[in-house]
């Protein structure tokens, strides 16, 4: 029980930490780091599901019978690269916000918005 589900609990803990950073911190870059943590926890979740006891990497070779599940690997592989692309996009937005508002703290940005209204 403890060993069997340990990975999933770690996943939940990581996910919650990332979630906490995203909702509780005002700094946009920190939020992006939080999103990255969240994202990685999802990756770990998928990869944990794909693990098979006694299996090895899904590359066919002679004399090996049991492989771990290749499908989640594929999904996560592409997700990682897409993740970096979206992170880059988010960072680009942050840079533009910094240039437009002079700050990347959420509260300052909101103050400026309120003044403009």
């Amino acid at each position: 029980m403890v060993i069997g589900l340990y990975n999933y609990w770690i996943v939940v803990a990581l996910m919650m930490i990332g979630f906490y950073i995203v909702i509780a911190h005002g700094n946009l870059i920190k939020k992006i780091v939080g999103l990255t943590i969240f994202q990685t926890s999802v990756f770990i979740f998928y990869i944990s599901m794909a693990k098979v006891d006694g299996g090895t990497a899904p590359i066919l070779a002679d004399g090996i019978e049991r492989f771990s599940n290749p499908l989640p690997h594929v999904l996560i592989l592409t997700a990682i690269v897409v993740g970096i692309a979206t992170t880059a996009l988010a960072l680009a937005l942050t840079v533009r916000i910094k240039e437009a508002y002079g700050s990347i703290e959420e509260e300052h940005i909101q103050e400026k918005d309120n003044q403009a209204c």
Binding site: T56, A57, I59, A61
Partner: protein, 95 residues
């Protein structure tokens, strides 16, 4: 023997993480990252041998390269003025 070496690498990784979290200056942290990268290379090579699939060595090579690129990149950008810690004395930058 392999497992013993793996455990040793694990211990060192733990120490490096502690230094990386405690690290009093930015450079301590970079040093910890660098060391951690080297240890990861070793760990993956050892894991590959333990599992009997030495194809894993490709990943170790990637790690070595990426680690180098990261450290160099961090150092290059740590030169810029925005990185200066307030406590440090400000020197005129030629960049």
């Amino acid at each position: 023997m392999l497992i013993g070496a793996t455990l040793a690498v694990f211990v060192v990784m733990t120490l490096a993480i502690i230094r990386g979290i405690m690290g009093s200056s930015l450079y301590d942290r970079i040093l910890a990252v660098n060391m951690f990268g080297t240890k990861t290379v070793l760990l993956i090579a050892l894991l590959g041998f333990i599992m009997g699939r030495p194809e894993f060595l490709d990943i170790a090579i990637v790690y070595a390269l990426i680690n180098f690129i990261t450290v160099i990149g961090v150092l290059r950008y740590s030169d810029s003025a925005a990185f200066k810690q307030p406590a440090e004395e400000k020197r005129p930058e030629e960049l």
